[in-house]
């Protein structure tokens, strides 16, 4: 039993964070440098999840939490899961099927296929040549509509869905961490009434609660990843719990971060809203449902 990252895992984590800081800073999330996707592919963040690499879910979770902290493109989630379960080595969009038979496609630009949940199973399908992508709530992602779904190739292994849910949870935890750090950093330097606002208990306790939410969700992420790696019978529950807590942490920390930033947090040019909007997008990707949690 050891729920702290090994040296190898820490090295992965650090390398990811370092690369992201240099090539994919959070502040640029709304308009990424050209060629980012190919750099990501070259760096192996998609291929790393392919079946032959044998990378464990625990390490993946650590890496994706770092990517999530910089609001990396959400198509990384679908592409990584696609690489593992559908044999796709390319960019895959996220498909969110609607009850009326249509679907939203997130980040379909340049993607040849899409991956999503269909009646609780992971499925994929090829994308038509041209799709009219519009901006989405999350300024780093686009959304396109498909009026009807083509035929879907289903993955029969239930672990495929858990994989997507786990990585999305990791992304959400990254967003929750980013919001906590941004708020705390601001609370240390912004002064009001002659003191840093972080001196005031009201602000300090908002930040403390952000830290609690992030720590709770991250712990469950680690446990869930290990449970999945170990093939534990309750892995589905643990992954669902991780996703639920991660989504809550990301949304609540996203809101709190705006509150701590005051007027600045209300402006488009500041970064806090980027974390919150990302959190709202992630909540729709492989959400945890009550059945899994109360099973």
């Amino acid at each position: 039993m050891d729920l702290t990252p090994s040296e190898d895992q820490t090295a992965y984590q650090t390398a990811t964070a370092d690369w992201c800081r240099d090539h994919m800073p959070l502040e640029e999330a709304r308009s990424r440098r050209p060629g980012l996707w190919s750099s990501l592919t070259e760096m192996g963040w998609i291929g790393m999840t392919a079946p032959d690499t044998g990378l464990d879910h625990a390490t993946e979770a650590l890496v994706f939490a770092e990517l999530g902290r910089f609001l990396a493109p959400v198509a990384l989630l679908s592409s990584a899961v696609g690489a593992r379960w559908t044999g796709s080595g390319d960019k895959a969009a996220i498909a969110l099927p609607a009850p009326d038979g249509s679907a939203r496609l997130i980040d379909a630009d340049g993607a040849a296929s899409a991956v999503g949940l269909f009646d609780g199973e992971l499925g994929s399908f090829a994308l038509p040549g041209s799709l009219a992508a519009a901006p989405s709530l999350d300024l780093s992602a686009t959304v396109a509509r498909l009026d009807a779904l083509p035929s879907i190739a289903r993955v029969n292994d239930p672990r495929a869905v858990l994989h997507l849910r786990l990585l999305s949870a990791a992304f959400a935890i990254g967003a929750a961490d980013a919001a906590r750090d941004m708020a705390t950093g601001y609370a240390k330097i912004r002064e009001q009434f002659g003191r840093p606002i972080g001196w005031f208990q009201a602000i300090k306790h908002i930040c403390a609660d952000m830290a609690v939410r992030a720590a709770v969700a991250r712990s469950q992420l680690y446990y869930a990843a290990c449970a999945l790696d170990a093939g534990e019978s309750d892995a589905a529950f643990h992954v669902a719990a991780a996703k639920r807590l991660a989504d809550q942490a990301a949304i609540d920390n996203g809101r709190a971060n705006i509150q701590v930033h005051g007027g600045i947090g209300m402006t488009d040019e500041a970064a806090p809203h980027l974390c919150l909007k990302r959190a709202h997008l992630l909540q729709f990707i492989a959400p945890a449902d009550m059945t899994q949690l109360l099973a």
Binding site: R104, S136, G263, M266
Partner: protein
């Protein structure tokens, strides 16, 4: 205690309702401030011509000189009729004008008040500064006196309608080296004079209603000081006592409509069967009702004593937090539609995003709680 209205008040309500029914414009107010300016001015003029501008403003300056209850009735009916937001006229009608009524000289009042009521002069606010958000006493924008003029340097932020405004209510530090509440002055600034630069600020919902305003040796006649040099804090604080609790009415009628809409939507989508949704809607419906009752109580207190009760701070805090809960529910009922939001969309999602301002602007929720603890409950001051 009673919740009835007199026959005269009821008649007045009917008049309001009839006129609004016949006159509320069919077209929607354009969402962006610049596009909306002509609309806002024309609508204000129409209100004025029909005698609905300044219900409780003194009649010598173009108001109606009626009672607070009539003002409440007008505001309720106005909101119920879905009449357009007064937009660019907001600061003049709800803030600048009332401050002038209490503090300004005859000349200042005679010049400005009718122009505000007629929609001829658009006002904006100049209180907040980049370095002093919730801390009004931390103002650093300063003016030196040269002859019969103030020469202003500094900047203001979160100024709504700055780019369409003719006048600004500006609070400045006019006494060099003064600190906190002292040495401030409340001044009428002409927004068309040289030295003013306006940088629009985009909100996280995409709208650009507010701006940063920079002052570079801007000259303002000393005659534009309101309430005397160095009395700016007192003048700024007096505004609330004119408004006397009626400022919450429009928000509350809007919240009443919002909760009924949400209940209807939840029913239409079959979501009301989910007890989490039902419980939350029932809770907010109760709270919206209570908030109206609390406002009535506060206004009744004003009618009885001439002063709003200290519970205005409770109303302010509760309204803002309830508003956010309503917006969250609206977004929850939307589900994945939320993803389709794009800058410029004017819907429940932009309301949700803009809604964060409710617990930030005008003294954050934290500061409102300090005020309630200190002024209402008498706990020791922390700041």
């Amino acid at each position: 205690m009673d919740i009835g209205f007199s026959p005269e008040e009821t008649r007045f309500r009917e008049e309001c309702r009839d006129w609004l029914h016949a006159n509320v414009p069919a077209e929607r107010r354009p969402p962006d401030a610049i596009d909306a300016i002509d609309f806002d001015k024309a609508w204000q003029r129409r209100l004025f011509d029909a005698g609905w501008a300044g219900i409780n403003w003194p009649s010598e300056y173009g108001g109606r000189g009626l009672s607070i209850v009539q003002q409440v009735i007008w505001l309720e009916e106005y909101a119920r009729a879905g009449a357009p937001w007064i937009g660019a006229n907001f600061v003049g009608i709800n803030h600048g004008g009332p401050t002038l009524i209490i503090n300004a000289s005859e000349e200042q009042k005679a010049y400005h008040l009718p122009r505000i009521l007629k929609g001829e002069a658009i006002w904006c606010q100049g209180f907040s500064e980049p370095g002093a958000g919730s801390d009004l006493a931390g103002i650093r924008t300063k003016a030196r006196i040269e002859g019969d003029e103030l020469v202003v340097n500094g900047s203001k932020i979160w100024t709504s309608f700055a780019h369409v405004a003719d006048w600004q209510e500006l609070v400045l530090r006019t006494e060099e080296g003064s600190e906190r509440h002292k040495g401030l002055s409340w001044v009428i600034c002409d927004m068309h004079v040289p030295g003013i630069t306006i940088r629009p600020i985009r909100k996280i919902s995409g709208q650009t209603e507010f701006a940063e305003v920079f002052y570079d040796d801007v000259r303002i006649p000393l005659a534009n000081v309101v309430g005397g040099l160095g009395n700016g804090w007192k003048v700024a604080m007096s505004t609330l006592s004119f408004e006397r609790g009626t400022g919450f009415i429009a928000d509350q009628v809007a919240q009443s409509r919002e909760i009924e809409d949400l209940i209807e939507k939840a029913r239409a989508r079959g979501l009301i069967k989910d007890m989490r949704i039902a419980e939350s809607l029932a809770q907010m419906r109760s709270e919206v009702a209570a908030l109206r009752a609390m406002t009535y109580r506060n206004i009744s207190e004003v009618m009885r004593t001439g002063q709003p009760g200290p519970e205005a701070s409770v109303i302010r805090l509760f309204t803002s937090e309830l508003g956010q809960r309503l917006e969250r529910m609206a977004v929850l009922l939307m589900g994945e539609e939320m993803i389709d939001f794009a800058y410029g969309d004017d819907n429940g999602i932009s309301d949700y995003l803009r809604g964060f301002a409710q617990t930030i602007a005008g003294g954050s929720a934290q500061i409102q709680r300090d005020i309630i603890g200190e002024r209402l409950l008498g706990l020791p001051k922390s700041r």
